[in-house]
Symmetry: C2
Subunit: 378 residues, 2 copies
């Protein structure tokens, strides 16, 4: 078992990558070995190891929860939530955030080298589930000597992992925070992801996924996928407020096909900047894992049964303008938790920002998370 | 002025195409000449020409409102509304439906031959607006000897044309029916269209639009555009009811990237069948026209002012699950109509089908249209 300390150029995170021998048994029946996991930690573990928080990231997120992103140079994706004086404070907690397997920021994924062929897996990488991602996180925690989590927390796909944790490892989770998420992917969720996958696979540079040896990657398809997905992360009202029908640096319509409207220019930028930092095959694998996600299905159709073995406390948060994982999805989870006898609190927050609200300025979210975490340690 | 009667293989429509000399002055400042218009008519004009109804079609619609489609062989797209014993009955009305300019079913569009070069216009076709489409329809009506319309009616983009009619030709419209539509395209509407355009333009077969001489057309890009758009035509609840998370002819997940879920298979089919009947460049031009559409903007920012010169009666219909052009958009139109002193009725209908409801089985819609049209002739 080798552990490599990567150069630490983060603001205050400790940049690490570990190669675990595995094998990790996957829901598909396949096994993954070795299992590379790239992760960041913040703060220190206390003596009784009772202060560990695992943060789970979203579809295109990464382990740089509160450290500058090595490619974009931008602050960590949840710097508003994690840091000194923030709800998840390294002065109090040992904070772990790992890149999910299937992704492309250092954990095993389609771009990793397949030891069987000494070439990148590409589409020969095994198809994953959210539960597989959780089991890989558990392997990392084993490696770090962590038994129980004081809390597991995440938004969007991170919320799916957080919610799965107590169903897979009921004895390892004390509390669970699930933000802007769901217990299963809906038909509309699957449909949007399928559009993204088709956009990538329609790009001739995709070549069945075998593009790693080449400078030509399926950027155009991945950019279109990102653009379509990005619309679902925002609210109609938020888009109207931010862009409306304002034109892009011009007084009048150009009667052409350049980006006349600011919203077009913004979307194009979202697509183009995304392809600089993300692998198209990883996008295929992670969206597939999300589409397969249905906690109840894995427990005989009963969500309440899934939570029954757990003693965890739960905190659910939704946003009123989130139409990707609307409040009704969180309510369904709360009902199941109530039916299973679990302690669950729930709040719907008001925000103009749609699904993306969990990543943006939202003091109420910070207060809710802070209160819930402190309540658990009182 | 030549008028060509095409072979009539429709069920009861009269298939026609006319070449008008033009020029048609466009909002962009360009002029279009000649102007080809393909249209269908049903019924006969009465002596005082007071029974003419113009039906306007949606983005990917066509003139075959109640005639079998010549490519797909399917019944006309509004056979539920137009026909014997239906609200728009050829026994009572002379019914006209014309393919919009910019489209690809016989009216002038990017696939038409540019007389200047004797080659297809492709992206040299002038960029159009909804108002340009309306002016082309007016040219056709002039050709047919029609002065005033008893009614103009349309859903979605057809509703945009219908609503524009009394603002451009206030003296030519007696009544106006606008279904599942809006007075301006929102930032979210523009964003979804931009994704579709980028998907088409990212297809290497698009080649700047010059693909007509070739068997290789940008089908993959157009299919992705259609898939993304199609999701916006349906409601989340409708997709859940129709497909949910049901698997496609299999008992278990395949852990692969084929269409595992029925909703994936359905969407792929929607994309693939669409490219059989539609031209990618037309998709670019028509979505652009819709994005440019903002009736108030063209009237100093006041929607009420736009309607002030008209004496038409209006009927607005929205659907409660339509999130593409939600009820609030119709309400804004009604408020403006009220402010302008126009006679306007409005109803929000309940349907599980989202935006597409106006094309589907909806007896209430038929009753509303029937009542409104008869009220106007009482």
């Amino acid at each position: 078992m080798a552990s490599a300390l990567l150069p630490d150029d983060s603001r205050f995170g400790l940049r690490r990558q570990v190669r675990l021998p595995g094998p990790l048994r996957l829901d598909s029946g396949a096994a993954l070995a070795p299992v590379d996991i790239a992760y960041e930690t913040y703060g220190a573990m206390n003596e009784d190891k009772s202060n560990v928080i695992l943060i789970c990231h979203a579809l295109t997120g990464d382990q740089y929860v509160a450290s500058d992103h090595p490619i974009t140079g931008k602050p960590g994706w949840w710097w508003r939530m994690v840091g000194e004086g923030k709800p998840i404070d390294p002065a109090r907690y040992f904070i772990v955030c790992a890149n999910v397997i299937g992704s492309c920021m250092g954990s095993s994924g389609p771009a990793s080298v397949d030891p069987a062929s000494n070439a990148p897996y590409a589409m020969r990488f095994p198809v994953l589930t959210i539960a597989d991602m959780v089991r890989a996180q558990a392997m990392l925690l084993d490696h770090l000597g962590v038994g129980r989590l004081a809390a597991v927390i995440g938004g969007s796909m991170g919320g799916m992992q957080a919610l799965s944790w107590p169903t897979i490892f009921p004895d390892r989770v004390e509390s669970c925070v699930v933000i802007a998420s769901t217990a299963r992917h809906s038909a509309q969720n699957i449909a949007f992801h399928e559009v993204g996958r088709q956009a990538i696979m329609a790009d001739p540079n995709w070549r069945g996924g075998d593009y790693y040896a080449d400078a030509q990657v399926p950027s155009a398809g991945l950019a279109v996928a990102r653009m379509a997905a990005h619309i679902t992360y925002l609210s109609e009202a938020g888009l109207t407020e931010k862009f409306g029908r304002r034109l892009q640096g011009r007084d009048a319509k150009t009667f052409g096909f350049d980006a006349d409207f600011q919203v077009e220019s913004y979307l194009r930028h979202q697509g183009l900047s995304f392809v600089e930092r993300f692998d198209a095959n990883s996008y295929l694998y992670i969206t597939r894992a999300m589409d397969y996600y249905d906690i109840a299905e894995d427990h005989g159709g009963s969500l309440a049964k899934a939570f029954a073995p757990s003693k965890a406390r739960f905190c659910l948060v939704s946003f009123d303008t989130d139409w990707l994982y609307p409040t009704a999805e969180s309510r369904a989870i709360v009902h199941a938790l109530n039916a299973s006898g679990a302690q669950a609190s729930f709040v719907e927050l008001s925000s103009p920002f749609g699904h993306d609200a969990f990543l943006l300025e939202c003091p109420e979210l910070n207060r809710v998370v802070d209160g819930f975490l402190k309540g658990g340690r009182a």
